[in-house]
């Protein structure tokens, strides 16, 4: 699903995407997540979050084909990084200024 238009599909390079591998990876990671969630402790929470981020990256990179797009950096910046920074700024401010 590259950013190239479908109308100019003849210009588009087709990649054989590792869809099945991604699917299996997501399945395994989900199982690992549930297992780690049974363990208490900051380090396990860190592992859990890391697994989640890896899953999200797999979906974005393979299923959304961001890794195979000609505009990967631009998509990641505009769709994820800039909004993420803006949200973090807002949420940290809310948390720092929390009052009843």
């Amino acid at each position: 699903m590259s950013t190239e238009t479908a109308d100019s599909a003849m210009l588009e390079e087709h990649h054989d995407l590792p869809l099945l591998q991604a699917f299996v990876a997501l399945l395994i990671l989900t199982i690992l997540e549930v297992l780690f969630s049974e363990l208490n402790g900051t380090i396990f929470n860190g592992v859990l979050l890391t697994l989640t981020v890896v899953k999200a990256i797999v979906v974005g990179a393979v299923f959304m084909e961001i890794a195979y797009d000609k505009e990967t950096t631009r998509i990641i910046s505009f769709v994820f990084v800039v909004p993420f920074i803006a949200v973090m700024f807002l949420i940290f401010t809310i948390a720092a200024d929390w009052r009843f």
């Binding site: 909004p83 807002l90 948390a95």
Partner: protein, 844 residues
Amino acid sequence: MDHEGMLWKSPRRMLGSTDAQEIGLMYFVLSFINASFAGLYALLIRFELWTPEANYFDGGADYGATFTLHGTVMVFLVIVPLGAGMGNYLIPRLVAATNADMYWPKWNNVAFWMLPIASLFVWMSQAPIGWTAYTPLSVSTGEPGIDLWILGLVMSGISSTIGSINFVLTIWKGRDPTIGWMDLDLFVWGTFITSILLILSTPSIVIAIVMVFFDRNLNTAFFYNPSAGGPTAPIMYQHLFWFFSHPEVYVMVMPAFGLISILISKYARRKIFGYQGMVGAFIAIGVLSFLVWAHHMYATGINPLVRVAFTTMTFAIAIPSGIKVFNWLTTLYGGKIKFGTPMLFALSFLVMFTLGGITGMYVNIVPLDITLHDTYWVVGHFHFIVAAGSLQAFFGAIYYYWPDMTGKYYHDLTSKIHFWLWSLGNLTTFTAFTLLGMNGMPRRYFTYPDKFQGLHQMATVGAFMMGLSFIFFFVSLFWGYFKGEEVEDYDNLFGLGSGYNFPPPFAERMEEENGESVHVEHSLSLWAGSAGSVLSLPFFGFLALAGTGFFYRGYVKNIPSDLPIFPLVFMAVILILWIGAFVKSIGESDAVPALFGIISTLLAMLTIAGVFARRSLLGYSNYIGLAFFVVFLLWIAAFFNTESKEDKGPSVIDQYKQGRNWEIWTFLASETIFFGILIGVGLAMRANAAPGTWVADQSEVLAVLPTAGNTFVLICSSFTMAKAVEAIKKGNKDDLVKYLGYTIIFGSIFIGFQIFEYINLAHEGEVALQAGATYPVFSSAFYIQTGFHGTHVLVGIILLIFVFLRARQGGYDEEHHEYVEFVGLYWHFVDLVWIILFTIVYLL
């Protein structure tokens, strides 16, 4: 304007036009209708304040509604739509758009037609809570109109988002490829930055006011909930509100900056000085406008560290604003200035905007702000910026482009009377405001100590000068339209020695350079226009939810036994119109939207009647509200599908539309903000929740393992969706249908499980929203996060059904399958969000 004459005579054309210039004109008309009423409300306020003894508002009870609607309408339904109107009118020509229109002509129509309905909602609401709707007041006030006000603003927010995505795409992807970024007109830059601000900030206010809606009606505990112990996080509302509303101020002034640049350059007969600096200033203002919102909150006793950061950022934003003012002045210096009416407005803008800026800097000094914040000083500052600033720019631009709109000149003398009355009225009123503020006159009071009477009367005189000036404005334009001088030489407009200087239209350039004939068509799309209207009807379903909520919470002690006549008559008129449209269009494609309209309206009438009459229907009104929502989604999907059917084969234009998936990527950027805020707010609530209001361990109250299974189901659906896209890229239509079918099944299982989970949780009573629920704060966060995600899944399923049906008819092939890709990207994004939500809500 080719169609202009026909436009106003044909409701059908008005409803279905996809021509950006026509839609621009409709934005102007809507804005000025709203401005007229909101202006009358301002005069009512000033009339009341002529003496401290006056009492025309029932002891002040209705005074709140008057200033609330004046503010809300002027901000959201006058200034912002005027910017959108100017954008529509000018941008496709300023960028020589490849399709000679906005990038999405039909969605452009939808965005516009949502606004009249939003306006109706806001006007009907008569909400008395101020345009900021601060909590806990907006939650605890049992005034049903507040719900209507919220729904109106949500609609206006959706309209702005659709419009903004369209502007970004038109400028970025739809412009003539030979026009570089640094060749763009400054108005185009202003609109581009404005649109990005709206895309990124609108989700914040939508979330904030929807949370207020839920707190009021569904017993959630985001900001205030008596059954959860009173205020929970009322200050969080202010952060969410201003995260949107400060950029919104720049949304109101940046198009004006662009227009002023055009006018000053034209009437000084010089190129704008320091173009690159101006572009840099636009970008800097855009970035900084996201970093200063908390300066509206110093008076709340904000955390000192936060305060220091925001004070610094706010002073920094004066730098790019100063660059603009000095560049305009430098453009004037040495220019051959002609003082036509547009230029007078531009020069007045410079003075007023500078006064607004300077009065603003004072309230960034924290000790001063604590004294001045709740006084008329801030009212004066804001009006200098927006009324005396932005509106003047729009007045000037409308005069300047009037010959382009009508082929005739406006009436000069009356336009100048308009200018002097308006400008002196501004100066008189807003100066009085700032002086009143310095002397300590608080905002939002319908009476005052005698010592303020002189200044209040000064403000009232100025306000009536402004009101009078509006009459001269209309006289000047309409006199010009009917009896004005015809434009004979478009290359020497107003005797300036130059014309509008739009770049050559793309189609003409292609024909001249390559001999290729490019066909540009502005089609009529009743589908689009009807969609804009029908989109509004499901909101009555939410209103029904609101009514039910009031009933349950006991706000409405004595529900009248008779039916609410006004809403029902209103809906009956809409019903008759839809039936008429349906009868007229039987056998044509237009019959389908009319049928949707009939169904939606009937449901709305049943709901309203049921809720208010306390008949047996009352118990089912939630379900009817849900039915509305489904009709709404079906409508969207039907519209989506129709767009596809009208696709034509690739043309020379399409070759330049590289990167069409940016349509969906831009939308997803807005969605990232939306879900990011929802998740972030949930985390902040969790970290700060009062003891006992948040669960110690989610696994004790939530079904973690079954939900893990459900997560796996959604991952399966993403896999099959990816296979579907892969299949059609290889031209395999059968596999496309097969995998789309699997995706729909997996999606339906996911949503089915979620409904089952909700029913179970409600039954168990721990994670629930009724009064006395064990974990009110956790429940609020849980339902809003998973509920909004579930709604997105539902939207995805309906879109998939339509793509599936079209795929079965062979509607996609190896080269034409962009809608499969769009739905696919949306679906994967929803999956990605769930992956994060699952961990945060269920596991961590």
